[in-house]
Amino acid sequence: MDSKLTLLGLATRLAKESGQSKGFCENFLREFCNTLSLKIMEGEAVRVKHLGTFRAVPVQPRRSVDVSSGDNIEIAAHYKVSFTPAKDLARALNAPFSSFQTMPLPDDVPAESLGEAEPKGEPDAGQEADTDSHPDKTAVINTATPSDKPESSEAQSSKPKTKHRPACAPTTTVSGILDADPAPRATDTLHTDPGPKASGRGDFITGVIVGILACILTASIILLIECFFLIPPVQEHRHRIDLDKIDPSEHWDDLPAWRYPDRTYPDDPPSNKSNEEGDLPKTPSDTVAAAQDGAKDKEKVIMDTITLSRFLTTMAKDHYGNFNLWPYIYEENSAKLGHPDRIRPGTPVVIPPLSKYGVSADNPEDIKKAKTKGAAIYARYRR
């Protein structure tokens, strides 16, 4: 890195790679340079493949200042050697920066925030003033003398025009940059303003986080709504609470018999209470057994409750022995029931005795009538 390969070293490497002797390669290189110099001196542009093009470029006479004495001097017109590297050589050298592109700067970015990038164009403007690329020396000469102030200010004003180019700068590269498409690309990471880009990435991350939180909050609300309104509480618990709240004396007909064994019915003498023997029915099935006992069951009101696993058909099967007789339970409670398939769990229903409707579970004709009745019930809610 940053070392120099001399002619002898180059000849050694050339001899090693070409298989020729070192002296032969040295002579070849010297003759190569001499021939090239000769043709350049003749004013021809010499193009060497994979290396570049050499030509002599005329330089106009100009005024300058002698640094040692401070006198104004005139630099005569002369020629200088211009070298334009070949495309493959330029591409190979610029490979580390090949992914960068020229970017247009936004108008709202102040020049102060760009640091030292702005004044760096200064040496390019003054570099062509010298025959060889010594921008520092030329800049000193241009700014040291008061008589040259108008020229230096003029040079500064014409700096963006890039009229003159450095002697060794590749001409195609500069024009290509100025004519390049200024559209930003995704690979341009170095030449974009880091502030807006960082804030943009921060906004994106914040937006993603807010979106995820909003989704979680919405899902939680929907879940809570579903829990409170769509899924009913446990039937036993709700039933117990309801029964505790109501006054039993006012709702004898709606209350289960096993819950209030000491209640009396209008047409039921107190001596007929089922709890006199002390056998309080614990479950509806016990009540079913009691309902099927005989004439005493005809006058007894049996209550049951709709649950998630206990429907009208289940009750009909338990109480009557045939699930097809559910329409009679429905008709008995039609005032508080809607669609037979959409009864709210926890709804207490009265199980009427079959004798009330003159129906027997053993009679096929009655079963058929019950099916017809069920179809009629469904027909009410059919649109």
Binding site: C33, L51, G52, T102
Partner: protein
Amino acid sequence: MDHKSFIALLSDRLGMDVNEVSALTDTFTDILQKTMCNADAVVLTNFGTFEPRYRAERITVQPSTGRRLLVPPRVTAAFHPGTALRRKIRDMALSAMLKNSPEYIQGIDTKNGQ
């Protein structure tokens, strides 16, 4: 002068075959390119120096639109002619260049007028 003519001229001066000279020239340019890619300079005595030159990023103004452009840094190949070559070009090539260079003639006239 294109590459083919230059190789032919060089082969005449060396007394070698054109293909052999072309192969040597390709090897030479390949070594030159590899050396410069390693950020090393190649010094050819009495001719000049080839060196990679780093150009820092800068801001330019596009004259047609007035927009400011941020030009990325780049590495270019530069050739710095040696003193001998510069002197030769200044002194020895004047006669040949004067024939085909009105700019130079104009420059000489300007100098003489002052």
